[in-house]
Amino acid sequence: MAAIGVHFGYTCACVAIFKDGRADVVANDAGDRVTPAVVAYRATEQIVGIAAKQGRIRNANNTVVKVKQILGRSFDDPEAEAHKAESKCPVVNKGDLPKYEIDTGETTKYVSPDEVAKLVFHKMKETAQSALGSDVADAVITVPFEFGENQKNALRKAAEDAGFKVLRLIHEPTAAVLAYGIGQDSPSGKSHVLVYKLGGTSLSVTALEVNSGMYRVLATNTDHSTGGESFTHALAQHLAAEFKKSFKQDVTGNARAMMKLMNSADGAKHILSTLSSANCFVDSLHDGMDFECNVSRARFELICSSLFNKSIKPIKSLLEQVSLSTSDVNKVVLCGGSAKIPRLQQMIKELFPEVELLSSIAPDEVIPVGAALQAGILVGKDSLPMGEDSITIDCCDKDILVKEVDESGEELLNVLIPSGTPLPARRQHTLQGPGNLTSVCLDLYQAQQRLALIVLRDLEPKEENHDIDTVITMKRDGSLHVTCTELLSGRSESVTIAAAAAAAS
């Protein structure tokens, strides 16, 4: 049974299909794997995707872009102000809800953002269907971490209106982590993952803790002022300056020319992620004058150097926020189209010298792939009636440690159950004691506090090490039960440590 994952971003939407145990992004009818989330209204039709984006030069007033910024918000929402100011398509107030004013020749239509979103979702559904050759409805949709309840509901409703059966809404960063299957192999172990997402209009950095296969967001940092468009804009400004230099004409005042330049800069930017130089060519940019310019990657990096710095900055502040050092981070996941920029990747790599930078899946496709994987997990199962998109579980508060000595005789603490492990938990460790001893002791600690001591005596000395099978069970309230068995003799000891509240009562 096939299921799909949909990423509906500010600038682009992308759909991935889960089929036969694999998740893969599918290309739309234009052959692109990513569809611009642009909807153009014409007299009789609505166009979604690249055609709408290209047609925007001529039809800016009837073309809706970045609808996600205003989706599920009221008209006077401060978050929606920027969108209203920026949108070429007039936004009007209809009963406290924002509506786009679409001029279709003789009549004026008012279109709500929900309807626009619905069209985009519909396009994604069509794309998935044409790739699968069959109808598909089960879908997992991704939402940004900062989305509120209203926005989530609006997004879910738009998807449902488009014919999807929304299995679940999941957060974008967790979808990205899931796409790489981090922590999915075994239900134990703990690691920290940093998700770096540089999308079209926003930059978000998220720190996650993966523990026992469960993801937990430690902190997130979103900057709506930085994004791929900032780079394009910077490049377009550069191109305008070049044009002025060669033709002594200022095009910055000409909106249509600037839009053309933006489109050209966008293409050049994409090329520069793979090639070292790109050609910009715009026919009849201004007063019938053609414009041609060659931009090298070095030039691009120079133009955007301040932007790069700005893009990197949130990582450090985020790590400070969750008090982790760069070495504590085990993996870095890149997502968002602009994370493809080589210079950016290099800078992140410099920041985390020992860490693996995950970019094997194209960064702009990571999120839908993760969503599709989740859809694959959920599809066909009795979906749990979950209203909330994240749930609260009991976790182990602090590390459970055992004191051991290494070869040099120095004492060290080994983690038996890491903090944040979901409860109830059961862990089995095989600890080893020197074979020449007749007794061993397990000294259990929780963080710095000594918990208990387990002593095994009358062991038979032998050549090899003693194997002590230790089973640690932690109940939901936090109480701990430890059973140690010496495998050879079968001698065992067990101890139960009550949780503090239980002990007090």
Binding site: I170, T174, G183, Y215, S439, I468, G478, S479, I497, A500
Partner: protein, 617 residues
């Protein structure tokens, strides 16, 4: 590497562990789902343990399975494999269609281990070469049973399955035992799982309904491809294959139909015999009847209540009315009594006054004065209140003649002035009314005086111009204006209003009007006659305001004149006698009439003298 335990160290707990904390996790990944599942099932053990347990239980099931020795295996004819019982061949006769794939596989394995030709050869047994060995049967059995489609086909025609359906007569006695077994047996063909049970006699309506609706819509997987006479694989060419297929399809459909009929028949029989259905039907009927009854009763009760309420209301109204009437009667009686008392008193006083006056010969010297005084006294009697009459009588009774006369005259004067005043007031009022009438000339018809003639004329006009006449009311108004003797000009509106008013009047009143009109007509004619006769018009002068007496007819006039003549002034009780001679008139009327006549004659005389004087001059 663990440390060595020191001497004296024992297993001990030092501190309590920190309580677990609550953390929000993202709802993604398979481990999250596993966790949720575990939590929802409320399983405290960890997930892995659970899975292990499940596996273990499955394995133990396998071990429980035991093979049955089947000595008749060797008697089977390998060529006739189609008629063999595949389950029995594999030693699964006791499980049959309930056997799992796993059990079938295990049984086959055991059989092969035991009966494989190679094994038997090694054991020194005689083997028939080729397909004629009974081992072929085992192979065929596993071939059939391991393939779900073929197994289903075989199961469908399971030779041990009892197709019989209990007939009506034999199941009538013990419905539940016989049918429970049959339904349980046939439930195995159901595609749907969880076949509802027949249940006992105390099953609820829902259960029974559910049971029968299930069985009436029974969806069976039973099919009869196993009984195909021709095997498709044996066909040599396509046409033959098609023909075989057609044949097979027909026979299968036939059998399927039979099967469906069988099930249908079974359910029909059960339904018709089911004591519960009968009970439910009876109950339903009883319920409906009782409902109907209750409805009727409720209606009846309602009606009764309504009636009662109405009756009570009526009673109350009647009682109230009666009481009111009674009260009114009492009051009236009281008033009457009082009035009577007063009347008596007044009468007495009047009598007293009259007698005193009479005794004193009306304080007059001559006949003329005495008549005048008599009149005045009568006026006093009429006019004076009880108190003043008493006072007057006292004065008259106490004082001497002169004083009495003075007091009487004073009273007479007072009364006369009062009458004069009243008359003036009345004249004024009349004048005012006339002025008001003229002022509101265009106003409603009510303000206009409609005299009898006009009314008569109106009625005539209305009858003359019936409804539907063009501009009817204008025409009527014009007609009225043309023919009316009165000076009023009447508009259509006035006419309409009056006509409407007339219509509103009840027929009795109308009649009265008509009668009045007739009377008047008659009177007018007679009046004209009397005028000519004795020039005493009855209506030339305004009657006094307080007099509501009807005008004097000529006959009455004649009678009066006659009486006046027959009873001279000296006659005792003269006026009573006069009144007695004129029927329909009392003493007072007669006196008044007489006075009027005297006045009239006087006036006439005065006028004559005046004219005579004028001519003399």
């Amino acid at each position: 590497m663990l440390k060595e335990a020191l001497d004296g160290q024992v297993t001990v707990v030092y501190n309590a562990i920190a309580v677990s904390i609550q953390i929000q996790v993202e709802p993604v990944g398979r481990w999250f789902e596993a966790f949720l599942k575990r939590r929802n099932r409320n399983v405290s053990a960890s997930f892995q343990e659970l899975e292990e347990e499940e596996e273990e239980s499955e394995e133990s099931e396998d071990e429980e399975f035991q093979l049955e020795e089947y000595p008749l295996l060797k008697t089977l004819d390998p060529k006739d494999w189609k008629n063999q019982d595949h389950y029995a061949v594999l030693g699964l006769a006791h499980m049959r269609w309930k056997a799992t794939q796993k059990q079938i596989k295990a049984a086959h394995k055991a059989m092969v281990l035991k009966h494989h030709p190679d094994k038997r050869k090694a054991a020194g047994e005689q083997i028939i070469e080729g397909d004629n060995d009974y081992f072929t049967c085992i192979t065929k059995a596993i071939e059939t049973l391991s393939d779900p489609v073929r197994r289903r086909a075989f199961d469908s025609v399971d030779p041990t399955f009892e197709n019989t359906v209990p007939s009506k007569t034999e199941a009538k006695e013990n419905f539940f035992p016989s049918f429970t077994a049959v339904f349980d047996r046939n439930a195995r063909w159901s595609i749907k799982k969880h076949v509802p049970k027949l249940g006992g006699s105390d099953a609820t309506f829902e259960e029974v309904d559910n049971f029968y609706s299930f069985w009436y819509n029974f969806d069976s997987w039973r099919e009869f491809s196993y009984l195909d006479e021709e095997e498709k694989e044996k066909a040599e060419c396509r046409d033959e294959r098609r023909w075989i297929e057609k044949q097979n399809r027909a026979s299968r459909a036939q059998r399927k139909k039979e099967e469906m009929n069988r099930i249908r028949g079974l359910v029909d029989t059960a339904y018709s015999l089911d004591p519960r259905i009968k009970r439910f039907k009876d109950e339903e009927k009883a319920r409906k009847e009782s409902e109907k009854k209750a409805k009727v009763e409720a209606k009846k009760r309602e009606q009764e209540e309504k009636d009662k309420a109405r009756q009570a209301e009526l009673d109350a109204a009647r009682l109230a009315k009666e009481k009111e009437e009674e009260e009114a009667k009492q009051a009236a009686l009281l008033v009457k009594k009082e009035k009577d008392v007063q009347k008596k008193a007044i009468k007495k006083e009047r009598q007293k006054l009259r007698t005193t006056c009479k005794n004193c010969n009306y304080f007059a010297s001559n006949e003329m004065d005495s008549v005048k005084m008599l009149e005045e006294v009568e006026k006093l009697c009429d006019r004076l209140e009880l108190v003043s009459l008493q006072a007057l009588n006292e004065v008259l009774g106490a004082g001497n003649k002169d004083e009495s006369k003075a007091a009487l005259e004073k009273q007479v004067q007072e009364v006369n002035t009062r009458i004069q005043r009243e008359r003036d007031a009345e004249v004024q009022a009349q004048q005012a009314a006339r002025a008001a009438e003229q002022a509101s000339a265009g106003g409603g018809a009510e303000s206009r005086s409609w005299n009898q003639e006009d009314l008569q004329l109106l009625i005539k006009a209305v009858n003359l111009f019936p409804a539907g006449t063009n501009a009817r009311w204008e025409v009527i108004a014009n007609y009225m204006n043309l023919h009316s003797s009165s000076s009023h000009k009447r508009t259509a509106k006035d006419v309409i209003n009056k006509a409407k008013n007339l219509q509103k009047l009840d027929p009795h009143q109308k009649e009265e009007i008509n009668k009045k009109a007739f009377e008047k007509f008659k009177k007018e004619h007679t009046c004209a006659a009397t005028e000519v006769d004795n020039a005493v018009p009855s209506e030339r002068f305004d009657t006094p305001a307080d007099s509501s007496a009807t005008p004097w007819t000529t006959e009455e006039q004649k009678l009066l004149e006659q009486a006046l003549k027959t009873f001279p002034v000296s006659t005792a009780e003269r006026w009573e006698k006069i009144a007695g001679a004129v029927p329909g008139r009392n003493k007072k009327d007669c006196m008044r009439r007489y006075k009027e006549l005297v006045e009239m004659v006087k006036a006439k005389k005065a006028a004559q003298e005046q004219t005579a004087g004028k001519t003399k001059k």
